[in-house]
Structure formats: C-alpha cells, structure tokens
C-alpha cells in the first residue's frame, strides 16, 4: 500500500494537462516497465502497456483505460507582465482566486491566480464572482522577464502539493484521473504474478477531458474484444445530491446503463460479491462521462464496463480520495481479467 501512495503522490505532483501529457507519461512508464512485457506510445501520445496472456494464439485481448490527462489552464495573453488564461477542461472558476499555480514556459515559474480589484473591473462585472477573462496570473516578475519566459499556449497547472489526510485519504489536484492510473497500475501488479489467458492492454489515455481522443484512437489501434474504463466518480460531499454521489471509502462503483454491457456488469458484480469487495451501483442513464463512451462505439463496437473511484470535490485543486478504493478497484479488475477464459466472448450474450 505504501508504494501506491508514493507513486500516486508523484503522479499528482506532475503536470500533464490535456494535450501535454508527455509531462506525466515517463512516471507511468517507469512504474509499468517492470510489470509489463512491452511499452509503446500511440500517435496521440497515449501509453500502451502490454501483458501477454498464456494461451495459444489467437488470444483475445482486453483494454483497460485510465486517462492520464488532467484539467488545467493555458496562457491566453500576456498584458503588462500579467497572464490571462483559458481553461482546459471544465473548471468552476470560483475556486481559482488565490490558488497557487505553476506556469510551464521556459522553466517552471511559480505564480498565483489573482482577481482584478473591483474598482478596475468593467461596470457590468460583479466582483463577487469574477469570470475567467478577468482573472490573472501574477508570477511576481517584471514584464520584460515575463515575455522572455512565457508565451501564449504555455500550460498552467495547480501547484497544490499532495496532503495525506485522516483515515488513509489523499488530497491533491489531478486525482481525476491519476487515482485511476494508480488503480490500473495496482491491477497490472496483481496480474503480473498471476497467469492469465487473455492479453491485457493497459492504456493511460490522453485528452479524455477534451475530446476522449486517446480512447477513440487507442481502441481503434488495439482492437480489443473487451474494454474497461476506470475513472473517478462523484463521492458524497456537502452540496452533492445524494442520488448522484457515492460513499468514499466504501469501495468502487459499477456503472449501469447503455454505455455498459449488461452481462459484463452482472459478471463483475457477482465477482465483487464473491471476493467481498464492497461496491455501489452507479446508474448512468445515457452517458458515462468516461473513456468508455468513446471505446464502446469504435469500429464494430466493443463491450464495455466502467469502474468508478469515488472522489470528493472533482475538478478542484483539492480533490480527495480514499486509498482503499483505489486498490479495491485495481484488484477487482485484475480478478475479473484473471478469470477470463478463451471462450468468454462466446458466452457474452444479450437477453439471457
């Protein structure tokens, strides 16, 4: 367990916003290298980790995806040494004033997000809730130095360091979705020591937060028989509707809805009960909001499953997750894969 915390803390200390995932990929490569047979990178930058199965060819394969990109900001303009920013992915701008950030220009430049003082705002903008166009990043440097170090398009990430909070929980930014990358890594570790019939492709996808582009393209390239997406989901927290959020620390969620193959769901649910892994059922009436939404409709279609890790305060710099939920999610997926036999796809039917 200690190793997962250390790995996860490293992961969430690295930048790697959508489109710029090369900042975090090497950390994942390093962790996957000893537990995979082959590592490769897709044309859009997703990391593919391959574990070969034991049976004779042709072996069916399963793709397990956890997106490695994170939300963040990007420099939009430089005005008198202050930086204007745009958002990459969905951010509630009300958390931004006063946040510490890192500007990735020529070097890593610390900065802070500041609100334009009320007296300088246009008259139609209320100072109690300033839109992103009027927030600035102040890096504390003089304008000439800023223009030599920073340019439009440079990523800006939250500088919140990880904090271990009570009850084996972890706080930090980009736990969406690095928590799932950690779960996927744990899954690979478990499988590394267990013979399994199927080939396994672990994929740290890119650009989930903007286009799910990594999921579409890796699924197309790898052409698996089954796919699983591990992503974070809403944990109960103040203000969250109770019917749309799930207890933190009480196990992963299993999504149920059109994006998930009903037989896969049933099999994994029964497995969780056998293994006494606690879980919650997460209804997803139309959209799963995950890489599975893309993978399901690639080429001739791929049966999908979604495993959720409850996370509080999603898309803020202070997301919180229970470490036990991460290892449970990873273990459940590993056990599912370990029990797959050569003929599983023949038995995966509709309407039984």
């Amino acid at each position: 367990m200690t190793e997962i915390i250390a790995f996860l803390k490293d992961l969430i200390s690295a930048p790697g916003i959508s489109g710029y995932e090369s900042a975090v990929r090497p950390l994942i490569e390093k962790a996957w290298e000893p537990i995979t047979d082959k590592l490769s990178v897709s044309r859009l930058g997703s990391l593919h980790g391959f574990q070969q199965g034991t049976s004779a060819e042709p072996r069916p394969s399963i793709l397990v995806a956890a997106h490695m990109d994170a939300i963040g900001l990007m420099v939009n303009a430089i005005i008198d040494g202050f930086l204007r920013v745009t958002s990459i992915g969905g951010i509630d701008t009300r958390v931004l004033p006063g946040q510490m950030v890192t500007v990735h220009g020529r070097g890593e430049i610390p900065g802070m997000i500041v609100a334009t003082p009320a007296r300088l705002l246009p008259s139609n903008v209320q100072d109690s809730n300033i839109p992103l166009e009027y927030l600035l990043v102040d890096v504390g440097l003089l304008p000439d130095e800023v223009t030599s170090l920073v340019r439009v398009g440079d990523p800006v990430t939250f500088a919140q360091p990880p904090i271990e909070t009570a009850g084996e929980t972890l706080v930090g930014h980009t736990l969406d979705n690095r928590a799932s990358v950690a779960a996927l890594t744990h899954c690979l570790e478990v499988l590394h020591n267990r013979p399994h019939v199927w080939d396994v492709w672990a994929v740290a996808t890119v650009q989930e937060e903007v286009t799910t582009g990594g999921a579409y393209t890796s699924a197309y390239q790898l052409n698996p028989s089954l796919a699983i997406a591990i992503d974070v989901t809403f944990a109960t927290c103040p203000g969250c509707p109770s019917h749309q959020s799930f207890p933190m620390g009480k196990g992963p969620t299993l999504l149920w809805g059109p994006n998930v193959h009903p037989s896969l769901y049933r099999i994994v649910k029964e497995l969780a009960e056998r293994l006494e892994i606690p879980y919650s059922v997460e209804p997803a009436p139309s959209h799963s909001g995950t890489d599975a939404f893309a993978m399901q409709v690639v080429a001739e279609g791929i049966p999908n499953l979604v495993v959720g890790i409850p996370l509080r305060y999603m898309h803020t710099p202070i997301e919180m997750v229970a470490l036990k939920d991460i290892t449970r999610a990873g273990r459940l997926v590993a056990e599912f894969i370990a029990q797959l036999d050569q003929n599983f796809m023949d038995r995966l039917t509709w309407d039984d």
Binding site: G257, P258, H261, P283, S286, V297, E300, G301, W350
Partner: protein, 360 residues
C-alpha cells in the same frame, strides 16, 4: 395504388403486420435496454436471413444476400429503442427518483401511468393535490427534481437501474393507429417486412439499431461493420400539422399526416445525398406513390452516424409522419405507413448501381 405487374413486389399491410406493430409498440425498450424488441425482431427475421448476428452493443445485424453480379450492398437501418426513464434512487415506501433517457419532455410526465422493469410493474408519476397548491405555484412547470415514480407499497420489486416507459396500449382508430414508441416501432415493422420480401438484385443489410435516442450509438458501429455502398434510414418524424394560433398559415408543420412518406433533404445531423433524394422522388412519381419533403432542419436520425463512417456512405432518411412523438402516445395514419412501405419497397426493387453515378 396501382397493382400492375410492375407493382407485384408491393405488399399490403394487413392483420399480420398490424399485430406485429402492436406487439412492437407495446414492448418496452428504452435506449440501452432494447431486449424486448430485439427478441421480436430476431424471431421475425431469422427464417428470412442469410445471416443474423447481435453485435457488441446489441444491434441486430441481418444480411440477406442477393443473386447476380455487381450487387449493391444496401444498408437499411431502423432503431429499436424508445425514450423513457431510468430509476436512479430508492426513497422507500415504493417511491423512486428517476432520470429521463433520450429527449423526453418533463411536461409529459405528471399524472401518467408507467410500466417499470422487466416485469412491467405498473407505477404512476404523481403530483400533489391541487387543493394543496397556490395559483402562483401552478404557473411554474414541473422539474425533474420534483417528480417521483410510485409503484405502491411494493418494496424491493423495483431496483435502481430499472427502466420505465409509458403504459400506453396500442389501438386502431379508423384511419389512424395510436400507440407509444411509434418512433420508431413503425420503422422496425417496416424493416422486418422488407427483410421478408427483399429483392434479389441487391444485398440487403438490415440493421435494427440500439441507442439512437441517446446519440445514434448503435448505427455508428453497425455501419462500420456492414460497410455498405449506400444507406436508407427508416425513422419516424413529427407532424406538427395542428392549428397555428396567431398566424394565418402554419409554416412550421415539419410534415403532415396523410401526405405520405417524408423524404429528408436535410436535418440537423445529415445533408442527405442529393442523388438518393432525387431517386426516391423519381421512384415515388413513377409509381404514383404520394410523398412529402420533410421541412429541412432540426431533428436527426441514424443517418447522422452512418453517413460519416469509414470513407463516407451516401445516405438518405425516410420517415412515416406521426403526431406527438416522445409523448405517451403518437397518432399515425395507416395510409402513410402503407405508402412508406410501398416507396421503400419500390426503391429497393428498382435500385441499380446507376443511382450513384456522377459525383455527389
């Protein structure tokens, strides 16, 4: 309708077809949970198909191979799913919170009876008595947040994740048919009929698709699998041909009941291939089949996903017009269904590779 030897391929809608439509309309198949309709489709098409398979999303893909050389591979699609509800939370005492699946208007829900889950358990969406409301309150529309499904004191019979549909029963009323999910059980019934009587000079690739109402999901992979030369999409489209209150002329009727099959030039998801639009119009005129052009814009059909697959698939949609889609019951005219079937049948029987000669 002329019944010359040239029209010998046409089939008359009779009791058999009406009973099939009734079973389809009464079946409950919300997007993602199309099993009940899939079962009926499989029973009906198996005896007539060269090959049948159910794919990774639950689409039923039917191939009926033709004979002869240079056969066109013609895809036909009709979606099996309907809009409905999914139960999202159990609040005890038989009361459940729900979400809508597909474009279902909240205003159509209060005071309706529903069927819940595989066992079609009856339930109601209630509202509080008028006596306990204020006039100002009644001016505001209901929101999803304020509505619940009530199955009575039946603890444990309904689970989170179960789907629910309107409890409408199909009936025939003179020239009209009334039932739920006419969008798109009419398309499904039509496609079943076409599979049974497919022409020999084409390969008929029939896709009974899933999840159209939540993003044309099934059609996308079905088109990839089939890789056809062209596609006809059978759906249902609204007829807003009711009185327009404060203008002289209703210019936004979309389609009209009784005016025949509606050919799509453009909707929000597809600009139909003009060659195929022309072909359908020419076919209708040559065979004296009434038709109308659906007013361009808005809406969407499986064509939206199909035409963009692979290196592109020339596509066009044809719909039976219906009033009150996505509500507890739609009303359609039997004659419009007959003429739609006639038009598509004639189009298939006379189809040659010439139809795609020339650039789009």
């Amino acid at each position: 309708m002329a019944n010359t030897t040239d029209d010998a391929h046409l089939s008359q809608i009779g009791n058999e077809q009406l009973q099939l439509l009734e079973r389809l309309s009464n079946a409950c198949a919300v997007s993602g949970d199309e099993g009940e309709v899939r079962k009926i489709v499989l029973e009906e098409v198996r005896p007539h198909a060269t090959d049948v398979k159910v794919d990774a999303l639950g689409n039923v893909l039917v191939t009926r191979r033709g004979q002869g050389e240079n056969r066109l591979r013609v895809m036909l699609a009709a979606h099996m799913d309907e809009v409905g509800l999914m139960i999202t939370n159990d609040e005890g005492e038989g009361i459940y919170r729900f979400a809508t699946v597909g474009g279902l208007a909240i205003a159509d829900l209060p005071g309706k009876t529903m069927l819940v889950g595989k066992e079609h358990l009856p339930g109601v969406i209630g509202i509080k008595p008028i006596h306990l409301t204020e006039p100002e309150e009644r001016k505001k529309p209901f929101s999803l947040e304020g509505l619940r499904l009530d199955v009575g004191l039946a603890a444990g019979k309904v689970k989170v994740g179960d789907r629910a549909t309107f409890a409408t029963v199909f009936v025939r009323q003179g020239p009209s048919l009334r039932g739920k999910a006419m969008d798109n059980r009419l398309g499904v019934a039509t496609l079943i009929e076409l599979v049974k009587r497919a022409p020999a000079q084409i390969d008929l690739l029939a896709a009974f698709t899933v999840q159209e109402e939540i993003g044309l999901r099934g059609a996308r992979v079905a088109a990839f699998t089939f890789n056809p030369d062209l596609a006809f999409i059978l759906d249902s489209t609204p007829a807003f041909d009711l009185p327009a209150w404060d203008v002289d002329e209703n210019v936004r009727y979309n389609t009209r009941l009784g005016a025949g099959p509606a050919i799509y030039v453009a909707d929000s998801s597809t600009l139909s291939d003009p060659r195929l639009v022309r072909y359908l119009i020419d076919t209708a005129e040559a065979h004296h089949i009434p038709y109308q052009l659906r007013q361009p814009g808005g809406g969407g059909t499986d064509a939206g996903a199909i035409h963009k697959q692979l290196a592109g698939i020339p596509s066009v949609s044809i719909s039976v017009p219906g009033r009150y889609h996505h509500s507890p019951a739609s009303i359609v005219r039997l004659s419009d269904w007959q003429h739609t079937l006639d038009l598509v049948t004639s189009a298939l029987f006379h189809l040659t590779p010439q139809v795609l000669a020339g650039e789009r």
